[in-house]
């Protein structure tokens, strides 16, 4: 790891915050994709079996 100088805390804090939010965004987005896709699949299957 390189030496980040006297303000290392701020640099690390900034990168961590951006990292957490970005990863969080990706995680939420991907989980929504799969959740809605599953929901649609389930409903479509129900519709087919019902009809």
């Amino acid at each position: 790891m390189i030496d980040l100088g006297p303000h290392a805390t701020y640099i690390i804090a900034a990168y961590s915050f951006v990292f957490i939010v970005t990863v969080g965004l990706i995680a939420v987005t991907v989980s929504n994709v799969t959740r809605q896709a599953r929901r649609l699949e389930r409903l479509e299957a129900e519709r087919k079996s019902g009809a």
Binding site: H7, A14, Y15, F17, V21, Q36, R39, E46
Partner: protein, 256 residues
């Protein structure tokens, strides 16, 4: 009963004709975008953290800029996308425009929040304070409030298509206002303190700063596009599923 089924299916085909097309072509975008974004992030972070010198003025804190500036740019880029989508909703009545607008708003708020927090963390070592009422940070904060307002307005509506049109009107009103806000805040800023701050994207920035900055900006932008497409696809899927659920409830009511 079969008759009923027929009318229902024709309905939804005509309704989803456009979204169906979108779902087909956008499927080819996801992995390339993800790959490009990942590579850009890898290269950008390597430059930003290891392969760029400390600035002679700001020292190591210049590295915060590499995450701050891309987010600040995206906070505005996202509003641009929303404004175009708003015109699409109201004028061209394109069926994907409101999906795009709905998908963009929370992303815009998130990127604006990242710009604000990284800006504050950059400001503390550079200016000696977390929050400086300088023109740019103030405008960004106001933009954040506007994003919150848009999201709040959207969430109070139950009917998504009606919400889209109303939110589109507000988005455009905001788009007209943002330059006025920017201008007024800059004027207010010069009034209260002479502007002597370091300008991050000034023309004198050396190449050692430009390379990581550009790479990171591209990386974040591609990531934004990827997330936007994914969220749009989710919304289309969700609406299809909602519709099936309504039909199911209607069937059950009929049966009982």
């Amino acid at each position: 009963m079969t008759d009923q089924g027929e009318t229902i299916s024709t309905n939804w085909f005509s309704q989803l004709a456009h979204p169906g097309f979108f779902m087909r072509w956008s499927a080819y975008l996801i992995w390339p975008l993800a790959l490009i974004s990942a590579v850009l992030f890898a290269v950008g972070l390597w430059f930003a953290l290891f392969h760029s010198p400390a600035d002679y003025q700001m020292g190591e804190t210049v590295r915060i800029m590499y995450v701050h500036v891309p987010n600040a740019w995206l906070s505005q880029f996202c509003y641009g996308i929303m404004a175009v989508s708003a015109v699409g909703t109201l004028v061209w009545r394109h069926p994907m425009a409101d999906v795009s607008m709905k998908a963009a708003a929370p992303l815009g708020a998130a990127f604006t929040a990242m710009a604000l927090v990284s800006g504050a963390l950059w400001g503390r070592p550079t200016w000696g304070t977390f929050w400086e009422w300088d023109g740019r940070m103030t405008s960004t904060l106001i933009l954040f409030l506007i994003y919150l307002g848009l999201i709040a307005l959207w969430r109070t509506f139950e009917d998504q298509l009606r919400a889209a049109k109303v939110v589109a009107v507000l988005t455009l009103v905001g788009a007209v206002n943002i330059p006025i806000i920017k201008f007024s805040v800059d004027w207010w800023n010069t009034l209260h303190q002479p502007s002597t701050f370091f300008r991050a994207d000034g023309p004198k920035a050396p190449a050692s700063i430009i390379t990581p900055l550009l790479t990171m900006t591209l990386a974040f932008t591609v990531l934004f596009l990827l997330l936007h497409v994914l969220r749009m696809r989710t919304e289309v899927t969700k609406r299809k599923a909602d519709r099936l659920e309504h039909l199911k409830i209607a069937r059950q009511q009929k049966a009982s």
